[in-house]
Amino acid sequence: MSKGLITRDLRVAVEGKEILKGIDLTVEPGRVHALMGPNGSGKSTLAFTMAGHPGYTVTGGSVTLDGEELLDLPPEKRAQAGLFLSFQYPAAIPGVTVANFIRTARQAVRPGDLAPAKFRQLVFEKLDTLDMDPAFLGRYVNDGFSGGEKKRLEMLQMAIIGPKYAILDETDSGLDVDALQAVGKSVQALRASDEGKDTGFLVITHYPRILQHLPADVVHVLIDGRIVKTGGPELAQQIEREGYDGIRDEVAAAGV
């Protein structure tokens, strides 16, 4: 069985237009991969396709999680298999409290593994780590939340569920420095825990700054639906200096 969140020659279309043109990517357990690229490159398409959003049509290739083919599974089964998506724009569910939602989610992914008192303890621990007021638990999911609050709730859910692989889709968008630090802190806390020490991360971002709080082991650059370059953290620094145009020029010169 191949460990990892692996895409092989993944091709995806939206409303008949091909967006991803053959993506090969492997996120190993316990490693952080960053996927960077300009607007419209297909970053969120990759995230939503992996999570099973019905608006994206897979026209070729595969996505496996520790050897299990995900493309045959509905979204909830992919989550139950260990995949977590932190949304760039999380949906609001007025009327459903945060407490109810995270309890239901934990139960769906890890049924019956924690007695209620232990679960409660876990929740309060994670709230503390994220510097979140317990009053959050009584609010309706993402209803009237600021951008920072929404991202904190995504991190809280990730911490409670403890997935095998987490995709963070532009988690840094709209966040100030404090909120970014909280995101970084949350991921590090998960990686330091028993449940999360082998969690693999795919951090999807436009800008390099989140990687200051969440250092990546590997950086990929996605342009026009293809991964055109892969490297170490220094690649993010190159993007900071030269922008994506610099990468485009380099790729064009190399005839890729």
Binding site: Q80, F87, A91, A108
Partner: protein, 426 residues
């Protein structure tokens, strides 16, 4: 047998006369005949239904309904005033523990000098509504609630109207609630039971200055029952009436809710919900009148339909001339849970004063697919996600119902309706 005709009324009057002291009737024959005339001449409510509408008031049938009026003594108090059909069950002791508060069968109050003067005109609503006129003509049971000035009652007053199988009873209750100055109380009216009868009644509430009334009406009748209710309140200065309506049963349920803000500082809130499944039809009309200025109203309505359920909501706000400083809001949201469900939403504002704040908003939609995908991305299976999102839809209305126990009861009833629905998310 019951018939809404002159001959039927004569027969009903004879039934009431034969019951003697056991009768629940409080109007004389002339008052009833006048009400029947108004019923016969009044227009059918609601206007022309939209295409695909299944229900037609012109085709309402009344045959096979039993008309009675009676009382039976039971050995122990139930903590509520209970009617089984049109028979009131009387028990030793008082319905409420506070001896200053009166809860009686309406007929008993009407015969008691201490309370007769407190009972408002018994043709309330008959001029305004066809079925309120019918309820007046055939009134055969009811309740009287009096909370004197300054009395604050912590526990709800329960009025229970039960349709008992195998009978199909025609019940025409009149409920009168009178709160004195500064009084506060909660009244919980329950319509329950599996019988295939008809409930057609009127509720009249009078609030003195600074009084506060929470009136909750929970309808969970059987799937063959029909219920037509007219409820109204008149408020004194700075009085507040909060209506909480849940229509969960019956094949046909029609409610007209009228609130008249007649003195400065008066305030009303209405939270209403209905959830139609099977072939149920629910119609709700709210009429909020700002008769004077410096009055406030807030209406939240949440309606949903699954299977082939149909519903209509008419939300009317009227601000009279010189009612400056009125503040009115009306929010109606409808959720269609199956392709063959149907809900009409008709809000309306009639404003005849300057310097007012008046808002209305209405939505009709289906399940939020983004919310469902979000739940699925957390491992929540689709049927569970649909249940979660559908139940959550009602929360803004449920949250304003009085008491945790009642709110949980409503949530459980809605959950049971989702289980019983055969076409949902379809």
């Amino acid at each position: 047998m019951f018939a809404p005709t002159a001959a039927g009324l004569d027969a009903a009057v004879a039934v009431l006369a034969n019951a003697g002291e056991r009768s629940g009737g409080v109007l004389d024959a002339d008052e009833r005949r006048a009400a029947l005339t108004r019923y016969e001449t009044a227009m059918l409510p609601g206007g022309r239904p939209s295409r695909g509408w299944r229900h037609d008031y012109a085709k309402l049938r009344f045959d096979e309904l039993r008309y009675t009026s009676d009382r039976v003594a039971i050995p122990e108090s139930t903590g509520a005033l209970v009617h089984r059909g049109a028979t009131v069950l009387t028990a030793p002791g008082s319905v409420v523990s506070d001896s200053r508060v009166t809860v009686l069968p309406l007929a008993d109050a009407a015969r008691d000098e201490r309370f007769r003067a407190l009972i408002p005109a018994l043709d309330e609503g008959a001029q305004a509504d066809k079925f309120a006129a019918l309820a007046t003509a055939f009134q055969n049971c009811g309740a009287f609630v009096h909370v004197p000035a300054g009395v604050v009652l912590d526990t709800p007053i329960q009025l229970v109207f039960a349709q008992a199988e195998p009978y199909a009873d025609a019940i025409f209750p009149r409920i009168v609630v009178v709160l004195g100055e500064g009084a506060r109380a909660t009244v919980l009216e329950r319509q329950i039971g599996e019988g295939a009868g008809l409930v057609c009644g009127v509720v009249s509430a009078q609030l003195g200055a600074n009084a506060e009334l929470d009136y909750a009406a929970i309808q969970q009748l059987g799937e063959e029952a029909r219920v037509l209710m007219y409820r109204s309140a008149h408020t004194g200065a700075a009085a507040k009436v909060r209506w909480h309506l849940a229509e969960l049963g019956a094949t046909l349920a029609r409610t007209v809710l009228g609130t008249h803000l007649e003195a400065g500082g008066a305030d009303t809130e209405c939270d209403a919900l209905f959830f139609n499944t099977g072939f149920q039809h629910v119609e709700l009309t709210t009429n909020t009148e700002h008769a004077v200025g410096n009055t406030h109203s807030s209406t939240i309505v949440r309606t949903a339909a699954a299977d082939r359920g149909q519903g209509r909501f008419f939300g009317n706000i009227t601000i009279r001339p010189h009612a400056h400083g009125s503040d009115a809001s009306l929010r109606d949201d409808a959720l269609l849970l199956s392709r063959r469900a149907h809900i009409d939403s008709v809000p309306a504002l009639a404003i005849a004063a300057n310097d007012v704040s008046a808002y209305h908003g209405a939505t009709v939609g289906s399940l939020d697919q983004d919310a469902l995908f979000y739940a699925a991305s957390r491992g929540i299976a689709r049927p569970d996600a649909v249940r979660m999102v559908a139940l959550a839809f009602f929360e803004p209305a449920i949250a304003r119902f009085p008491g945790d126990a009642l709110r949980e009861e409503i949530r459980t009833a809605l959950d049971d309706k989702i289980d019983a629905a055969t076409e949902i998310d379809a």
